[in-house]
């Protein structure tokens, strides 16, 4: 069926309706306005990326590298590091950068990529972890992994995701974006993926369950926190600005 506006009859009037003139308040504000520096999304992206990078960079500088690093295949170390890096860059870019010709980032796309990043991070750990026998610490059971090693790596991820979400809320607070939970999930997942990258070089604990559920789980938890916090933080920032 061909869908045309003519079929909707008088509703065509809603396509364009004679507006009242701008209010006196608005006219007064416009009359006294000064030039403003407009937003540069790439700069905003860099600011959020730097906020996310502070803790892992400090961590890499002060903590010793994992002892089994020399015993692991270089191709695996590099390829897994590239996946973690992509997990950081792609969701973060989609959450902050609009498509060409647009003002707003595409929340739906960012949300889909955040979900994909979570899934990839968990599966990467569960299916593609390689250990160096005798050198890598491998938990003897899933229960032991949760009890002794899980929280340390997840909390490392939170120390990256949370600053990223806070700074993202600051840069997005006046942009009137939609789908904030999806954007928050993307920023949080990106933070978790950066943590995964740092832990890939730092964490002495191996085993598929640990890498999948603690390092990959950090991405999921980061995405969840971002999805919950970003809308609240942006609204809070908006209310402050309205005062």
């Amino acid at each position: 069926m061909k869908e045309s506006l003519e079929d909707l009859g008088s509703l065509g009037a809603l396509a364009s309706s004679l507006p009242p003139p701008p209010s006196s308040d608005l006219l007064a504000d416009v009359g006294s306005m000064r030039p403003v520096r407009t937003r540069v999304p790439l700069l905003a992206l860099c600011i959020v990326a730097v906020a996310a990078a502070v803790y892992p960079v400090v961590g890499l500088a002060i903590y010793p590298l994992r002892p089994d690093l020399a015993a692991l295949p270089t191709w695996w170390l590099v390829s897994v590091a590239l996946v973690w890096l992509a997990g950081f860059i792609v969701p973060l870019t989609l959450a902050i950068m609009p498509r060409a010709g647009h003002v707003l980032p595409d929340g739906a796309r960012a949300g889909r990529v955040a979900g994909l990043a979570c899934l990839t991070a968990v599966l990467l750990g569960l299916l593609f972890t390689i250990d160096a026998p005798g050198v890598t610490i491998v938990p003897t059971s899933v229960w032991e992994m949760f009890r002794r090693y899980w929280w340390g790596c997840v909390s490392f991820g939170l120390k990256i995701s949370i600053p990223a979400v806070l700074v993202a809320a600051a840069v997005l607070r006046k942009v009137a974006v939609t789908r904030l939970p999806s954007l928050g999930a993307a920023v949080g997942a990106a933070g978790g993926a950066f943590a995964g990258l740092a832990l890939h070089a730092l964490c002495p604990v191996g085993g598929a369950w640990h890498v999948g559920l603690a390092h990959g789980g950090g991405v999921v938890i980061g995405a969840t926190i971002g999805a919950l916090w970003l809308p609240l933080l942006v609204r809070l920032g908006g209310k402050r600005n309205d005062r």
């Binding site: 065509g12 009037a13 809603l14 364009s16 309706s17 504000d29 003002v103 739906a108 006046k174």
Partner: protein, 218 residues
């Protein structure tokens, strides 16, 4: 009626609006007035269709442009400001609906909600040469008001305002696929209603098994 623009015309319009917005951000008040003249009629039509009340829509229009003014530093140079402005209007409308829900509700003696005043668009349709009469427009708005909110916004954005599915998705905060489905369902329901289909084979039938009657604007 909205003009069905070609992609070239759309691109020209977008470039023109982007240039106006850039000048506005540089402090040129004339650019603001040109932008208002270009976009306020469309935004007002969208808000009227969404909220069903011309007076409230006019208030929301002022709020929308005030928010644009306050947030103009968030503009990205070179971008088409129209979808962004629609998004601001959409958010203002949702806030208004939420505010109304939170405020006290007057019930009639039989416990039903009083009907909201219908929009007064008589004589305001500039594009169509103001040929449609007030009763027709009221009938159209009444039919639009019977649609679930998500279908209504999709129809307004794509069929009436002529935005692309991708733009409408960005404005409404959903996916382009969802917008296409909702716009089609809404269009069918609205067309049946306006062409005088019976209640049984009208909107309810057109909506099929999709129980969207309780969904709210997001």
């Amino acid at each position: 009626m909205a003009q069905r623009a070609t992609p070239e015309r759309d691109a020209e319009d977008a470039a023109e609006l982007a240039a106006l917005m850039a000048r506005y951000c540089d402090g040129d008040a004339r650019a603001f007035h040109a932008l208002y003249a270009a976009l306020a009629p469309k935004i007002l039509g969208y808000l009227t269709g969404l909220i069903g009340d011309r007076a409230t829509a006019e208030d929301l229009l002022q709020q929308t442009f005030m928010k644009l003014h306050q947030g103009r530093a968030s503009y990205v140079r070179g971008a088409n400001p129209a979808p962004w402005l629609y998004t601001i209007a959409h958010r203002a409308c949702i806030d208004e609906i939420r505010r109304k829900k939170r405020s006290k509700v007057r019930l009639s003696t039989d416990g039903t909600l009083p009907r909201e005043p219908a929009a007064d668009l008589g004589g305001a349709a500039e594009a169509a040469g103001a040929t449609s009469n007030e009763a027709d427009v009221e009938r159209g708005l009444a039919a639009l008001a019977t649609l679930p909110a998500l279908l209504r916004e999709a129809v307004l954005l794509t069929k009436i305002q002529g935005r692309s599915s991708a733009e409408a998705a960005l404005i409404a905060g959903t996916t382009a696929g969802a917008i296409k489905v909702r716009a089609h369902r809404g269009y069918v329901a609205l067309r049946n209603k306006l062409l005088g289909a019976t209640e049984d084979e009208g909107p309810a039938a057109a909506l099929g098994a999709v129980a969207l009657d309780r969904v709210e604007l997001q």
